[in-house]
Chain length 202, copies 2
């Protein structure tokens, strides 16, 4: 613990505030962001859901396309259902890819999901589009990376797009305005045999 | 791109599924988790909000105490207001600490907020408690770390507690069931002069 007098504390905080104000004053650009959540840790989809909630709260419309998880029967669905005019949810993937064991079918489903993302990006009604687990699909080469990057790069000016999933391709991170890596520091599944629980995992 | 035949793909996916099923079968413990989101990247609070949304969707009651941010006038508030019986929100901090420049007052506010967290942890009505930016308060030594760790360690069996903020103390990570570090890979604020935008930052 660092001991400081009230006076020292105040001086330090004033300096911090001045630096903070200066940074904020230099930020004047408004634009739709390409946001990428990647890494092996938890929180990639969950943080995207948090952003969706914020956008809903600001009266915006959000499109969500889930690429590889099963139909949404989970917590967030109930909350989104309370704002039916503001959330369009498409669960395109049928379970994780290793459940289908049919590559041709997986590729067709990935294409179908991607066409939904493209439609939502093109449609001005959507302020935000979440392409959940798109990175997984790219990792398996189920969609051409070049096409995905080109569509994201050419998105309308004020459109926010969030892409989640581990192993984000380097080219996607390059293109991103904001990229965050979630890293596991400690995990109860591996270490304690704890199962997935409502409110935490789904 | 790795070229595989349909047969090779199917075999690989079957192997993955078997491994996955084995892991899931070994997970039988149900318990309240202490979850920590830390690191300098974005998504710490946002991912916690996503968990709150999931818990609400499962009909659970969540208590939220914000330690250092200003009163909530942001996106998530609108969504939480749609579930008034399930979310209790306490915004205890008054702006960031460097805005107040009064250490004694900050410590008193931190104490007040912590007492709310303790109350929610003790009250069986709450399935989940979010102590947002508690790590910041601990970083400034506004609360005794020993007391915080002791309360968290002694929480009721099925109570989920989420603690967010950069610079999580090592002792807190030790205590956590799930700890995730959010790391900045790319950030539009620094690199592009982009200002905070609704749906993304608040």
């Amino acid at each position: 613990m660092v001991e400081r007098t009230e006076e020292q504390h105040k001086a330090k905080m004033q300096k911090k505030q001045a630096a903070h104000d200066k940074i904020i004053a230099g930020k004047t650009v408004e634009k739709g962001l390409l946001v990428v959540h990647t890494g092996k840790g938890k929180g990639k989809t969950t943080a995207a859901l948090g952003m969706v909630v914020r956008a809903i709260g600001h009266g915006k419309k959000v499109g969500i396309v889930q690429f590889v998880k099963g139909a949404m029967t989970t917590g967030e669905k109930v909350v989104f259902d309370a704002f039916p005019d503001q959330v369009e949810f498409k669960a395109m993937g049928e379970g994780f890819t290793w459940n289908t064991q049919d590559r041709t079918r997986d590729i067709a489903l990935a294409r179908e999901a991607w066409e939904e993302v493209k439609r939502m990006i093109a449609d001005p009604a959507y302020a935000m589009v979440l392409a959940d687990e798109l990175n997984i699909v790219l990792r398996y080469d189920y969609l051409p990376l070049d096409e995905v990057i080109a569509v994201l790069a050419a998105r309308p000016d004020m459109k926010h797009v969030i892409v989640t999933g581990r192993n984000a391709p380097e080219a996607l991170i390059e293109q991103a305005d904001l990229a965050t890596e979630m890293t596991l520091l400690k995990h109860p599944f591996r270490e304690q045999g704890v199962k997935a629980q409502p409110g935490i995992e789904f």
